[in-house]
């Protein structure tokens, strides 16, 4: 049997303001029938562009060369995607190849029902009666595991959860039974527990529907879980191709080894360090904790006459001086809300929250302002947390100017240079504007700004979730190093269990606004007591195909058990 997809010597060049830029350079890939090829690489390595070429979705500014052969599911000659007319391309899409997008919420049209959207694909390829299309849509929804498909077929996208939306997108892709599904980061926007379910569904696509999958991802755990073969892309080229077991067991290229080494793992050296720090702290006399929350409640006010939404329901925790508390939880669990309340960005509605001796329940900005000197904040998205009209030096100097330590950015420059050096950025970068730095560099500058006033408490809200694995490893290392040197306490908010394990002294697990488990990393992640924590841990894919296979079975048993 021949390959479903055959890419030979593909080259793609984009026209930009600064002249042509090559995104893909002599890439050759094949996808065998009923197999999953994972394409991994950092952002900018050309993996998404390669995937889009397969569907002929390149923008007008791109020029391509090479051969992309796509098998015809109806038994004809394979079609060469790059030379097809728009008309022929439309016939191929959906029938021979389909796409699963990263953001299911933006890939679905909000004004049509999901049933209509699945039927739309059927209508585009031949005449189907309304009744037959609806019946087929219900059938597809049932196949992708949506409960009550007869009712759900009339739902609008906003009535479904994130995981269900992704299921609908997969149903749309499967509707015409294509030979190849291109999945571009299909689980990146999802929570870990949902991710495990979607990965399971994609496995079904291969095993039960007989579709091949070209999986684009940067998550090595996902690769280990799903892929049969892996292609590693680096700067527009495929540097290594190997079956999944071989790649993880014995990576040939140094780049692959470095990429694998950058992936944070559970139970790493972070725990050893945390244990050391705990020993040191035990020797010191007991002091008043920097942050003490008891029965903390935070409610977002509702619209007129409607009750508000309670994001945090009675949470107790403490952060001692020099201690890193990791908060983990899925989206909507209230973890970011707690971080924002600590910084006085969200008002506290009940219970008590004392931050550096100030009660945050009904606090006045005037009383809290002096305390702000001792609080640093690192935001999730480094792209938006800098004023685009300020240079990096001005941004980092801003806290000093606001608190009267320096009159203007020039006078603070020597301190700014020290800070930039501390986060391993050249001092000359201070004169650049935020958009001229890469994501990782910006996040390091953000760390420098957070530390500008030598704070006692640093709140980090998902500081690495917008970054590539390789960059994330660097930023985390830097964070741990600075924390050791400067000894600040920190609230580290993340959804990634492996990240929190590498950094935190203690870990708190949030579920629907309640803290279900708190303890040292070893307690919570090593031998979790709460079933939710157990499920979180079981859902986390590990970058090792053999171990992941056994974990997957364990995960299935937690599902059937609950």
């Amino acid at each position: 049997m021949s390959n479903v997809l055959d890419i030979q010597n593909l080259e793609i060049t984009f026209a930009t303001d600064r002249g042509p830029v090559k995104a893909v350079d002599r890439v050759s890939l094949e996808v065998a029938p009923r197999s999953v090829l994972a394409v991994v690489g950092e952002s900018g390595s050309g993996k998404t562009v390669t995937a889009k070429t397969v569907l002929g979705l390149l923008p007008e500014t791109a020029a391509s060369r090479g051969v992309v052969l796509l098998a015809n599911t109806s038994g004809g000659e394979p079609s060469s995607v790059l030379t097809l007319s728009p008309e022929q391309l439309r016939a191929v899409r959906g029938r021979d190849v389909a796409m699963v997008f990263q953001e299911a919420s933006t890939a679905l049209n909000p004004v049509y029902t999901v049933g209509w959207q699945i039927a739309e694909g059927l209508r585009a390829h031949g005449k189907v009666s309304k009744k037959a299309a609806r019946a087929q849509a219900i059938d597809m929804l049932r196949k992708v595991g949506i409960p009550e498909p007869e009712r759900r077929v009339d739902s609008y996208p906003h009535q479904l959860s994130g995981g269900q939306k992704q299921r609908v997108v997969i149903a749309m892709a499967l509707a015409l039974n294509p030979g190849l599904i291109v999945a571009d980061e299909p689980t990146t926007a999802l929570d870990v527990t949902v991710q495990a379910e979607i990965l399971d569904l994609l496995r079904q696509c291969r095993d039960e529907f007989g579709a091949s999958i070209m999986l684009i991802t940067h998550n090595m755990g996902v690769v280990a879980d799903l892929a049969d073969e892996v292609a590693v892309m680096y700067q527009g080229e495929v540097v290594e191709r190997a079956p999944v077991a071989e790649l993880f067991a014995a990576p040939r290229e140094k780049y692959t080894r470095d990429l694998l080494a950058a992936v944070p793992r559970l139970g790493g050296e972070g725990r050893v360090r945390a244990a050391e720090r705990a020993m040191e702290r035990a020797l010191q006399p007991e002091r008043e904790p920097l942050v003490r929350a008891s029965g903390l409640e935070i409610e977002y006010p509702g619209r007129l006459g409607k009750p508000g939404f309670k994001a945090v329901k009675g949470v107790d925790f403490e952060i001692a001086a020099g201690e890193v508390l990791g908060l983990v939880g899925e989206s909507g669990s209230g973890k970011s809300t707690i971080g924002r309340a600590l910084a006085g960005l969200t008002p506290v509605s009940g219970g008590s929250l004392r931050v550096l001796g100030v009660e945050m329940l009904g606090f006045k900005e005037r009383e809290f302002r002096p305390v702000r000197r001792d609080i640093g904040f690192v935001f999730q998205d480094p792209a938006t947390s800098f004023n685009p009209r300020f240079t990096i030096a001005e941004c980092v100097a801003e806290p000093m100017i606001v608190h009267g330590l320096a009159r203007d950015a020039d006078r603070a420059r020597s301190r700014v240079n020290e800070l930039l050096e501390a986060v391993q950025l050249p001092a000359a970068y201070g004169d650049r504007y935020p958009h001229e730095l890469s994501g990782g560099q910006r996040q390091r500058a953000s760390l420098a700004r957070g530390l500008a006033l030598d704070p006692k408490l640093l709140i980090a809200d998902e500081p690495t979730s917008a970054l590539d694995v390789s960059v994330q490893a660097k930023v985390l290392e830097l964070f741990a190093e600075l924390q050791r040197e400067l000894g600040f306490a920190s609230l580290f908010i993340t959804h990634d269990l492996a990240v929190v394990d590498a950094l935190a002294d203690r870990v708190g697990v949030l579920l629907h606004g309640e803290l279900v488990e708190v303890g040292t990393g070893e307690q919570v992640l090593g031998s979790p007591e709460h079933p939710y924590t157990q499920r979180l841990l079981a859902s986390l894919p590990v970058p090792d195909p053999v171990e992941q296979a056994t974990r997957r079975d364990a995960w299935r048993s937690t599902l059937s058990g609950s």
Binding site: V21, G44, Q235, E398, L437
Partner: protein
């Protein structure tokens, strides 16, 4: 488009600045060294654009008219930008009741026919008198009132968008005062569509001024030259076969408005990278930009340790924006 627009605008500004030297006569001259110009004289060597019914030289009136138009644009647009964007900034930043009242006021002004409002304003300001500065001020301030809601709206919506950005929150966390956040962080990032509104409004300002003059609320010919007034006086000429008195001021208005509009539209296109035209790339051309953070490459592996660290620093610079 941008070039054509800018060219027209530059010619207009030069004409306004150099009017006393370019124009053959003064705007209120009805006689030269050779005696009176005469009424409704056809174009000739002495009067290339002819003369009006009152005996003014059309060419001189058109050139001097650009000066009046220019002053009105500058005053009207400057005043409305200043007041409108300040109100928009405060309204959006403070929010609540202040915002609601200001939006309601802006909507009320929108509901008014703008020319009627301008007429009322011009009567109030000039008190029925006509002088150069009285006329210019009344025209520009009445235009200002009409334009304030536009700047108010544009700035307000931008501020509302920027206010929710993470960098504003980060300024709040630092403890920056409201004034500092408003002007340093929010306002500096909310002005990107102002140049566009500015150029479009400038052309509207000219049209309003000409409209006021045409309706008889402009500036008398002995205080300043004004295209709208000249057009008004030329109405009767059209039916008498005297085409030159209405044609030239009319063309002046059209060209200036077109120049300003073209400039504004092309500024809009320039600021949006998706609308910018680019030359198509040749297949297989161009170099791969380095995007990786992990500093490894087969070639680099051979290089010495010192060179390797330098290379890694360089490689990191190639950040996608």
């Amino acid at each position: 488009m941008l070039v054509a627009g800018l060219l027209l605008v530059i010619v207009f500004v030069l004409m306004a600045a150099l009017a006393p030297w370019i124009a053959p006569y003064n705007y209120n001259a009805i006689s030269g060294p050779d005696g009176d110009f005469g009424s409704r004289m056809a174009p000739s060597a002495a009067h290339p654009f002819g003369t009006t019914i009152a005996g003014y030289d059309v060419l001189s009136r058109v050139i001097w008219g650009s000066r009046t138009a220019f002053l009105v644009i500058v005053i009207a647009v400057a005043a409305s930008i200043f007041i409108g964007s300040l109100l928009g900034l405060v309204s959006a930043y403070v929010g609540g009741a202040v915002d609601r009242v200001l939006v309601m006021l802006a909507d009320a002004i929108y509901a008014f026919p703008s020319l009627l409002l301008a007429i009322v304003m011009s009567i109030m300001i000039s008190g029925g008198q006509s002088s150069l500065w009285g006329g210019i001020w009344s025209a520009s301030l009445s235009i200002t009132v009409v334009f304030i809601p536009q700047y108010f709206r544009v700035v307000r919506s931008e501020v509302i968008r920027v206010k929710a950005e993470a960098f504003v929150e980060s300024a709040r966390v630092i403890g920056a005062s409201h004034r500092r956040i408003m002007f340093q962080h929010v306002f500096r990032n909310s002005t990107r569509s102002l140049p566009l509104v500015f150029t479009l409004n400038a052309s509207e300002a000219i049209l309003t001024l000409a409209g006021l003059g045409f309706l008889g609320f402009g500036i008398e010919p002995n205080s300043a030259a004004e295209w709208g007034y000249d057009l008004n006086k030329a109405v009767a000429d059209v039916t008498n076969g005297v085409w030159w008195t209405s044609l030239w001021p009319g063309i002046a208005i059209v060209l200036v408005v077109m120049g300003l509009t073209l400039t504004g539209e092309s500024l809009n296109d320039l600021s949006d990278p998706r609308l910018r035209l680019r030359r198509r790339a040749k297949a297989g051309s161009g170099a791969v930009t380095s995007t990786s953070v992990i500093a490894v490459q087969q070639a680099a592996a051979a290089a010495a340790g010192a060179a390797d660290t330098a290379a890694s620093a360089n490689r990191e610079e190639g950040a996608p924006s």
